[in-house]
Structures are given as structure tokens and as C-alpha cells.
């Protein structure tokens, strides 16, 4: 168990190192940052001096080393636009993004797991068909369109819910549904197929034959085993949710990391983009590390490998 965890931790660190490299490389691709940082009328001599002072003349690997050292201390440089450290700008907006992603995940799990179970237990009934069709539609619907349609119906036509900003619980409803729909559809389908597989197994038949009634068979015997793939996908779906927040936050003017990074890209404010990509990717890696640990408790076979 310890060995497994140590290996898993080493892997996570390696992945973060790779992430940092790619994040650095993206900025490196932008070419000469001096042209963005200095006023256009700077003399050639000034440019040269500035370049030397900032270390832009150093070899690629030295520049990367400096970036990595900074990143480890939470230093991604100053935001070109806001004049504040990029790191703190991003960190300030993290809670809003986590709130939205968490709410979306709650919506997804709250809808998908019951829907998937009912679909599997009442296979080929009307309930199953409806839930399957809804899941299929949900998987095919682009988030940004759903967001706009929800605004059209619930904010513009019915005037029930706010269409932008953050604050009350009401502000959270539409963005959370928008962001969570795709994940809901995925988990519904996964739960259904997982439950169907488990329900067909011998030990379920044995339990039924021994006279265990329906609800305990479903909830105690079957769901426990069907839960394993669901837990894995929750970790992966978090990546979808964090990435999807870019779009959802833009539509609903939600003050999170996603919206900040889109604006930073428009403004060519690359330190902020780097900090945002690096922190979101790190969050994803850490959550998946955590999911893997949880996983070893659910499925002891993994520990032994």
C-alpha cells in the first residue's frame, strides 16, 4: 500500500513537471516578450539592455529553470494588464471556479446516479427510454448553447433567475446546470451500463435466490460494485468541469479562473494565462491522486498490483 502510494505520488510530481514545461513552452512560442512589455518607441539599445536584464538571451533550458523555480514559489510574474502578481490574481478567483465546478458535480451526481440505477433496474421501460434519450441529448448539446437557451427561457422570458454574476444561491443555478449537463449525461450512461453488468452476475442471483428483497440487492450488493468506475470517472470529469468553466463562466459572467483566463488571452496577458493553466492542471492532478487513494479502499485488488 505504501509503495503504491509513493509510486503514485512520484507519478503525480512527474506529471506536474511536464505540465510546467508545456505551460512554459506556450509562452516561449509567443516569441519576443520584450515587444509586448516595452513601449513601441523603445530604442534598439534599450531593448537589448532590457532583454539582458530579464534573461531573455539565456538558453531555453536556463529560462525554463528560472520559470520552474518561480512557479514553485508561486511566482509567475506580474500581470501585464492588472499590474498585480499573476499568481494572486488567479488564486483570488479559484474559490468561484471551485464553487461552480462543485455545484455542477453535485447536480450531475444527484441526477445521474438515481437515473442510471432506475434505468438499469427498470430496463426497457418508459423510464429507461426517457432517461436514455435525455442522456444522449445531454451528451450532444454544446454547453454554450444550453447556457444561452437557459438564459433565454429562465431569465429573459420567465424572469425567474439571474443571468449573470455571482452571489446568492440563485446565481448558481443556471451556471451549475449548464456546466453539469454533459457530466450528468456521461455518468447516467456509465451508471446504467455498470449496474446492468453487475445485476447480471452470479452473486446477485445468489442473493436474490437466498431471498434478499429488491432494494437491498440494488443498493447494497450491486451499487457498491458499480460504484468503482463511477468514482474513476468523477476524477476525470473534474477535468471536463474545470475546462468547461472557461465557457460557462464567460456566458454567465461568473468571476472565476475560466473567465479571467479568456480575458487574459484576449489581452495577451500571458503571465496570467500561465498561472491559470498551471493551477487548474495542478488541481486536476491532485484531485486524481486523491481519487486513486479512495479507489484503493473501494477496490483492494489495486493495492496488490
Amino acid at each position: 500500500m505504501r509503495i503504491y502510494l509513493a509510486r503514485r505520488l512520484a507519478q503525480a510530481l512527474l506529471v506536474l513537471l511536464g505540465v510546467s514545461f508545456i505551460v512554459f513552452f506556450i509562452l516561449y512560442l509567443t516569441g519576443d516578450p520584450v515587444l509586448i512589455l516595452l513601449p513601441p518607441d523603445a530604442s534598439a539599445e534599450d531593448v537589448q539592455k532590457f532583454r539582458e536584464a530579464m534573461g531573455f538571451n539565456d538558453p531555453f533550458i536556463v529560462q525554463y529553470g528560472r520559470f520552474l523555480g518561480g512557479a514553485l514559489r508561486g511566482d509567475f510574474g506580474q500581470s501585464v494588464r492588472h499590474g498585480e502578481p499573476a499568481f494572486s490574481l488567479v488564486v483570488e478567483r479559484m474559490p468561484a471556479t471551485f464553487e461552480l465546478a462543485g455545484a455542477a458535480l453535485l447536480v450531475a451526481l444527484g441526477l445521474a446516479i438515481p437515473a442510471g440505477i432506475v434505468s438499469a433496474v427498470r430496463r426497457n421501460t418508459l423510464v429507461d427510454y426517457v432517461s436514455t434519450v435525455v442522456a444522449l441529448l445531454g451528451q450532444s448539446m454544446p454547453t454554450f448553447w444550453l447556457g444561452i437557451m437557459l438564459i433565454l427561457v429562465f431569465s429573459v422570458q420567465l424572469n425567474l433567475l439571474p443571468s449573470s454574476g455571482r452571489g446568492s444561491l440563485e446565481h448558481l443555478v443556471l451556471p451549475a446546470i449548464t456546466l453539469g449537463l454533459f457530466t450528468t449525461a456521461r455518468i447516467t450512461r456509465l451508471t446504467r451500463s455498470g449496474m446492468l453488468e453487475v445485476l447480471g452476475q452470479d452473486y446477485i442471483r445468489t442473493a436474490r435466490a437466498k431471498g434478499v428483497s429488491d432494494p437491498p440487492v440494488v443498493w447494497k450488493h450491486a451499487l457498491k460494485n458499480a460504484a468503482i468506475p463511477i468514482v474513476t470517472i468523477v476524477g476525470i470529469e473534474l477535468g471536463t468541469l474545470l475546462g468547461g468553466s472557461v465557457i460557462t463562466e464567460t456566458i454567465f459572467a461568473w468571476p472565476g479562473v475560466g473567465r479571467l483566463s479568456v480575458q487574459a488571452i484576449y489581452n495577451r496577458d500571458y503571465p496570467v494565462v500561465q498561472a491559470a493553466v498551471f493551477l487548474l492542471a495542478s488541481t486536476f492532478v491532485l484531485v486524481n491522486l486523491f481519487v486513486d487513494v479512495v479507489y484503493t479502499y473501494l477496490d483492494p485488488r489495486i493495492r496488490l498490483r
Partner: protein
């Protein structure tokens, strides 16, 4: 040789030979089985219609998608226009015909879809084959690369790179293509892991085939099925991503009509002109749904145990 012993003897032969001996070719059998799945067939028809709409846009569209007509801006669906024509889906904020723009918008979506899937599919296939067949160090390296790739919130990575390089059709295709190989690699690798232990592969080795020949002639054709299913379903994802990028202004640039770009325009007029944002969104939904239905059917027909 009696009629009873024939099937048993035939069964011992490799599948390809067996199929040649008894009944129709596998491809015919496959098409028959696929055709029995009505939802898959429906999906295929929808996809074909979208492809035809994209190719035939210059003939089917009654208007030029970029032609502006400020006097007829924001007309609701069905509004009559000059010369007995009508704007079936209305006009946008510059008086451009929405139906024509929806038809033309299928072009960048499908182009990015096919091209990006081709790039990531080939990359992933190569990585999966090598990783699964040789194992060891190479496998470790590729699988860590896959972890790194998956750690990035996809859209954010894409917009960061496109923001830096500047949005254009080739950049969008390459960025999506290069960063989507992981699913293919994993699925192909999984298939190769089990294939390389099979008798026909060992037989090929025993007969003196080198690694390259075994990989290309014996393993690749058998790993193709799961790959095809992934490619189909991934196409749906890529089309949504292309629209998302256009929606954020980082897709194919105006005046070329894109579904995502139309949605972004329509969003501004959402309280007064609902049709601007509704129809391009429906176009994306229908296209993606068709691909998903077809992909699901393909998966169920080819390999029901495949979990995707």
C-alpha cells in the same frame, strides 16, 4: 467429407479464411448487422445529410452567407424578402440570411472534425501500437505523456495555444489534432496487449516475421475496430470544440460563417431576436447527436464489450 464435420473444421481456421469459406464477406455481415440498428442508421442518415448540406451549400442556400442587407436586419423566421424569396430562418443583426449561414457553417465544423480526427487518430494509433507491442520503457514514457496531456483542461490549453499562435483553420486543426491522441493510444494499446499474446501473432513470429510486419499485417488490422469507434465518437467532441472556439472568437475568423460565431453574435440579441442563437445551436446539436448515435451503433455492432 460430410456436411456435419465441415463447420467444425472451418471453425479452426483463422477468422478471415473462415469468413471467405462460409457465407458472405465480413464487411457484408457487418453492414447487415449495423443496418438492423435503427438508431445507428438514423444517425448515419443525419450525418450524411449534414455532409451533403456542407458540400451543396453553394447550390442549396438561397442567399450569399456574407451578403449584408441592413434594411432587413433581425427579421424573424419566415419573413418574406424581395423577389418572392423568404428568409426561412430569419436574418441576423447585419441582415444576413441565417439559413444560408447555418448551411455554410457546416463546412468549417466538418473540415476541422475530419482533419483533427485524422491527425489525432494516426498519432494515437502509432503510439498505441508501439506502446502496447514493445511495452517496458517506451510504454512508460508514452503513458506518462498521456497523463500530462490529460491533466490540462482541454479547452483552456487550446485557447491558450491558439491565442498565442493566432486563430486560423490550420492552427485550429493542428492544435486539436495534436492534443487529442490519448484516447486512441489507450484503446489501441489495450487491444495490442491482448493481441500480442494470441496464437496467430506467435505463429507469425515463429514463421520469421519481423516486428514491423507483425505490427502492420497482423496486429493493426485487429486493433482497427476499437480505433474506428473512438474516431467516430471523437469526431462529435471535436465539432463541439470547434464551435466552442468560434464562440470565444478563437475559431475560423469572420466573414466565414461558423456555428459558434453565429451563437456568439446571437447571444447579444438574445432578449429581442431568439432565432439568432437558436438555429446554429440546433445545427450543432443535430450533427453531434447524429454522430453519437452512429458511433454508439458502431460500437455495439463491432464490439459490445468496448467501454467508451
Amino acid at each position: 467429407m460430410s456436411a456435419e464435420t465441415e463447420p467444425a473444421r472451418v471453425l479452426l481456421r483463422p477468422p478471415a479464411v473462415r469468413a471467405g469459406l462460409v457465407g458472405p464477406a465480413p464487411i457484408i455481415l457487418f453492414i447487415r448487422r449495423l443496418a438492423r440498428r435503427r438508431t445507428a442508421l438514423f444517425g448515419l442518415v443525419v450525418v450524411m445529410l449534414v455532409v451533403v448540406a456542407a458540400l451543396g451549400a453553394p447550390w442549396t442556400a438561397a442567399y450569399d452567407p456574407t451578403e449584408q442587407d441592413i434594411t432587413n436586419r433581425l427579421r424573424p423566421p419566415g419573413s418574406p424578402a424581395a423577389a418572392g424569396r423568404a428568409h426561412l430562418l430569419g436574418t441576423d443583426h447585419l441582415g444576413r440570411d441565417i439559413l444560408a449561414r447555418v448551411l455554410y457553417g457546416a463546412r468549417p465544423a466538418l473540415m476541422v472534425g475530419f482533419a483533427a480526427v485524422a491527425i489525432s487518430g494516426v498519432l494515437g494509433m502509432m503510439v498505441g501500437l508501439v506502446s502496447g507491442y514493445f511495452g517496458g520503457r517506451i510504454d512508460d514514457v508514452f503513458m506518462r505523456l498521456a497523463d500530462i496531456q490529460l491533466a490540462f483542461p482541454f479547452i483552456l490549453l487550446a485557447i491558450a495555444v491558439i491565442g498565442v499562435l493566432g486563430p486560423s483553420l490550420p492552427v485550429i486543426i493542428v492544435v486539436i489534432g495534436v492534443s487529442s491522441w490519448v484516447v486512441y493510444a489507450r484503446v489501441v494499446r489495450g487491444a495490442v496487449l491482448s493481441l500480442r499474446e494470441r496464437e496467430f501473432v506467435q505463429a507469425a513470429h515463429a514463421l520469421g516475421s519481423g516486428d514491423g510486419r507483425v505490427l502492420l499485417r497482423h496486429i493493426l488490422p485487429n486493433a482497427f475496430t476499437p480505433w474506428l469507434v473512438v474516431a467516430t465518437l471523437d469526431m462529435a467532441r471535436v465539432i463541439v470544440i470547434e464551435s466552442a472556439l468560434s464562440f470565444l472568437g478563437l475559431g475560423v475568423q469572420p466573414p466565414t460563417p461558423t456555428w459558434g460565431g453565429m451563437l456568439a453574435d446571437g447571444r447579444v440579441y438574445i432578449s429581442t431576436a431568439w432565432w439568432l442563437a437558436t438555429f446554429p445551436g440546433l445545427a450543432i446539436l443535430v450533427t453531434v447527436l447524429g454522430i453519437n448515435l452512429f458511433g454508439d451503433g458502431l460500437r455495439d455492432t463491432l464490439d459490445p464489450r468496448l467501454k467508451l
